[in-house]
Symmetry: C2
Amino acid sequence: MDNFNFYSPTEFVFGKDRECEAGEYVRKYGGKRVLIHYGGGSAVRSGLLDRVKASLTAEDVFFTELGGVQPNPRDTLVYTGIELCKKENIDFILAVGGGSVIDSAKAIAAGVCYEGDFWDLYCGTPIKKALPVGVVLTIAAAGSEGSGNSVITKVDGLIKKGTGSDLLRARFSILDPVLTQTLPAYQTACGATDIMAHVFERYFTNTKEVEITDRLCEAVLLTMVKEVPRVIADPNNYDARANIMWAGMVAHNNIVGVGREQDWNSHNIEHQLSAVYDCAHGAGLAVIMPSWMEFVYKHDVMRFCQMATRVFGCSMNFENPEATALEGIKRFRSFLHSIGMPINFAELGAKEEDIPLLVEKTGVGSGRTGGFVHLSSDDVAEIYKLAVKAKL
Amino acid sequence: MDNFNFYSPTEFVFGKDRECEAGEYVRKYGGKRVLIHYGGGSAVRSGLLDRVKASLTAEDVFFTELGGVQPNPRDTLVYTGIELCKKENIDFILAVGGGSVIDSAKAIAAGVCYEGDFWDLYCGTPIKKALPVGVVLTIAAAGSEGSGNSVITKVDGLIKKGTGSDLLRARFSILDPVLTQTLPAYQTACGATDIMAHVFERYFTNTKEVEITDRLCEAVLLTMVKEVPRVIADPNNYDARANIMWAGMVAHNNIVGVGREQDWNSHNIEHQLSAVYDCAHGAGLAVIMPSWMEFVYKHDVMRFCQMATRVFGCSMNFENPEATALEGIKRFRSFLHSIGMPINFAELGAKEEDIPLLVEKTGVGSGRTGGFVHLSSDDVAEIYKLAVKAKL
């Protein structure tokens, strides 16, 4: 096991109706002048935003608001948010939405406290200060409610970049599973795929002897395998929604990733798909991750056998371990298909002829290659090609 | 799943030689005048205390020290510590040791900030303020490095009481597995038993549909089942030590307990054994917990079957589920025996004739009865009797 630090100071406030406590928690963590940041109209139409505002008013907290965050959140709205915060003397950002809204809120929180162009903070300049952020989560997916990470897309050039700092960790995150019950099945499945991908990026490692982290990874994956088909079948299944929502946080605050080298190639390879085609991140991962597995599994057949047997219930084929490894990957792809995810380029709306562009955008060749298997740009192209022809 | 809050703000600093960073972390969390609190001479003899002091000196941090914490830490030393802190104007308590030292440090931290007798804070008076606490952990067991709890024994009457508050959570906890390599096998096994018990107290619940928490519980238990025999066989196995040490934190910061009613009867029943016989808490739990399981398993046979099959690798007997449940309990007791734990009163040094006294001290009858199965004082007596005659 490698040395590590683990720090997850966010207060998680979980359960039915907890969004009505948003005002109390903003107060508890020092907010007096709040920017409410949100996405499309669903938070308005559902009455969620009104409930949150009422709870702020009840605590005598001033607020202003900025909606309009899009999936794959953009730098343009971040600039607007920074200006608004400065004008209104905002001291707390409350994100009401999913990963895109939270990531945009984090960008604003850091950008307000930075003299230069906030984009610098996504290009290597370390974050030294940020306004406190709170979260009311509306979709189980990105794990941004429990992480210190943020990913923003620069509209000029469609460049998608991430940053991370403990200063970006939410002070509190409110997770009410009821809020996820109105999501379309497709979005629910995209979120579930993202959650599983966050675990797999940590599960495939060259670090030996980290049993506790392996087992915690498998705990999340087994939960997803059980619960996701249940919410696809019955969107109002509260308990299944609750298990998925909490699994989404556990999958990405790094408790399932400590003590080991991690990979993250699949995320990099996918980010180019969602940047170019504006597809859902989870849908892109459904196409990429099993293809990545097929490309790398020979690097450590036994680790893929562990996944196949412990997570997907395969019997170990002791005469032919490779067959078990491949069966595990096949079951993962079948699982994704069964919950309504695309599994190849055509189903996603991606184009084979764009592969050279996609490869270039991954930046592989300039050193971004992942921890489990180091990939060259040719390798990445091969993975995209596997994703073109992937089938059940 | 029940509504819950989860808050674990401690920064965990894990790995080889990390205790040499104690000074940096004290500084980071605002300590300028430190009380180093520790137990017997082993921290002195091993050179650990010198390394910690050197790291404080390197950061220009003033320190004084108070050793002598005993297992089942006592109120008498807490009073001494409170006096010393006031006299020396201490602003940070650094616990160097195991659960007893940390619990004593927490008691001092809260007691310094309380006008009256600190024992009030263990009898229902809420903790409103406490000095910050840091930890250098030397044994994987109590989980106090990641919890907000503290248990102290009042010497007058041998009364053992616990308290809890987020204010008692350590600011940082340094976990170096190397420090646990010199522990005698018996203490290692006692710690491992305590870790498993912390999980089982949360695992046995009447709350349905909390799959993610169940799976996380099982992740810790499966890790213990694999790793503990390896450290008993080879005390210097770093990776096995590391897995156990991290599992001990995960077992008790409540990530494996959220969203559900918990039990905690076994802890209450055991606390009386360690209070009366001054035995190790883990050894007492090895005697009590399987006996408690035998007494309650009929309340939810399927839950015990889940434990038996998922944790102890039993095959499910579909014609006779009770047989599977009992086989799981039997394997748990055999496992404890195999790592050198006592499994009955005689092996622990407890006496059957003391049972009425022990029952009285549990306080059952005045409302402390546990969440999974409500126990009367007669029930508790029956569990002690099962523990008298327990065998493999």
